[in-house]
Symmetry: C3
Subunit: 273 residues, 3 copies
């Protein structure tokens, strides 16, 4: 893949791009159904789930809506309402389902422990949290703030990921393991960003304006990395595990330590791969 | 608010005090009902929840008991039992509901992303975890240790916050985001303490006596801050994100790093505001 | 206990050994029933739970299977299927229930806040996560990878602990508080290992081979400790809270800081006790 990308002069830090090895939306849906059908035969304990989650549905949109609704449903948020809400969002803004697909490709591209699309879609709470956030963000942009916050709260309860619904997130996102990820209200996340569990994009000060980080395309945030305040992490940069960042970090560099110091500059253009 | 406080010579590090801008218990309950009624009209998806959680109840106590019971109920802990338990606690010790109210005010005072009381009460797991802990602590003090530990366990499962029921916690507490907060058995938390997610108040040694930290009034503990052993963090002190504290920290200072070093002393009297 | 162990020349860093103060499997089951019966009388709110979880069952295996199944059951994984699965695993490989018992003893030996076996078995999500993992690992070894991953995902949702089903874990394990623990696919954990919440055993690189840590017998990993890559942490070593380890750490030493530096060597042979 690297060679393929480089031959085309494309780096993840330039933003998401569909690559020749990625599946089209139709091919992806076909592949997901094949995987589910195989697993349903091999493991009868999972057959009924795989049927109700994947095999009975007519489209990727319906399966994704079912997955999100099934996870977030509670005694106070009906699964049927949530499924309708997801389908409305997908219909109103096709960029949402496009981003769901890009994220599926990103996980397969970057996580060596994941070799099936269904594994990511059905079992990775980081993936499910990001797609749920895309629905909450759509609600927020429509001015439906109370419901957006109810979804944020359910995502935090169910997936242990707390993303304010105002946060803008790009395509090709990997949130691996995901427990404890927090992103404050005015954070902005570029494309091709990978982050591990316990990552914090936190605020500084108590004003109402921009007070959270902006993360460039292709950034990798290691486990427990903390970025505080309205700082900018440049594209293609890697922030090591446990690092605390309180100032801008230039593009294509590597930062580690508490507080962060830059140990490499303009070194490796694709850390998130 | 600062001016108001200062005019009265009051700092958060002196302990909780009801301020003129805070709502009385009756005014708070009236405001909560107004917020819920507005959201129920604006967002029909939430109407049934808002009715059963807020609008059908006659008092703040009943709404708070309903919220806690609904969140902690499981196949082995009935919601009706839990609601009865909360109401018993509120009746037996009115300081508990007073603290619930103080915490609501504290969140509105300090969290720029929160501008509604219902948002905090219904959707912030840190707030709900603290109020649930107050019930577990009441049980512990009554000698009902098995049930107190069952509640602690449910709080850890549902809110991802693990507070031993013996821990004493003051009023005006903000636990923001809250995932991964841990407080060991002999911890003591003052008033007006604010803490972010992943904060640990941990033990040292294996004895049965005091082995956890004491946190003074008005302290701010940043994301991922870890305080270990029977140390004292003085009032009004700020512990930076990712800091590891293993020794006393004086009042009104700022500590950062692994291990902590004090970078400012007696500087800013209200870090948690 | 220390004297007893030392008189026999046994240290935890030499691997798990049943000690004279430990209960036999039968005595342990008898003790668990006695504790449950006492609590059911003292706290009627818990009586029905204690009956259905402990008192109606004929063996430790059935109680353990009930606990795991009840916690992991969902709308897509039936509790009855899960209980059958656990009992199949215990029957097929008696070493699994032996390890469940060893872990119960380890928690009682090492956690000063725990003085009842039922408290650990019923209420400690770290204990429940490890025993659930043992079932997922058994499935993985049988080639039932899809179901193993479904269990891993449920453990991550319910207990906030993400352990790849391929990970090999020894006996006498304590995971205290447990929120946010992550162990990648090729990690190996020895006997008598104790770890606090937020511990990460993470990968380096993107290859498919060994890319995660190997943790020796008797190691203690403090809260938030992060060990990255195919490094070896020697037996009996203590890794301090918040430490980031990216290179081998010798046996019986103490490492702290970001990045880790070794502050004591060959000092204290039983840190996890």
């Amino acid at each position: 893949e690297e060679t393929e990308r480089e031959a085309r002069g494309h780096h993840p830090s330039q933003g998401w791009r569909w690559m020749p090895h990625h599946l089209s939306k139709d091919a992806l849906w076909k592949k997901i159904r094949e995987e589910a059908a195989e697993d349903a035969v091999a493991e009868p304990t999972l057959a009924s789930t795989l049927h109700s989650t994947v095999l009975v549905h007519q489209s990727l949109e319906k399966t994704m809506a079912f997955v999100i609704a099934n996870k977030l449903a509670s005694s106070t948020l009906l699964g049927t309402h949530l499924m309708r809400l997801c389908l409305d969002a997908f219909e109103d803004d096709p960029a949402i389902i496009d981003a769901c697909n890009a994220d599926l490709q990103a996980v397969i591209d970057r996580d060596p422990a994941c070799d099936k699309y269904t594994q990511c879609m059905l079992y990775f709470k980081g993936y499910q949290a990001v797609q749920s956030h895309r629905i909450a963000h759509w609600l927020w942009q429509k001015g439906r703030k109370a419901l957006a916050m109810a979804l944020q709260s359910r995502v935090s309860e169910v997936f242990h990921v707390d993303i304010h619904p105002a946060v803008s997130i790009g395509r090709g996102i990997l949130m691996d393991h995901a427990t404890g990820i927090v992103m404050g209200e005015t954070s902005i996340i570029g494309d091709n960003v990978s982050m591990l569990h316990h990552v914090t994009l936190g605020g500084s000060g108590t004003g109402k304006g921009t007070r959270h980080p902006q993360i460039g395309h292709g950034v990798l945030l290691g486990a427990g990395a903390t970025v505080l305040g309205p700082v900018h992490v440049g594209e293609g940069t890697k922030i090591g595990a446990g690092t605390v960042v309180v100032a801008d970090v230039p593009s294509h560099s590597v930062a580690v330590g508490v507080p962060a110091r830059i140990i490499k500059s303009n070194k490796k253009p694709e850390p998130c791969q």
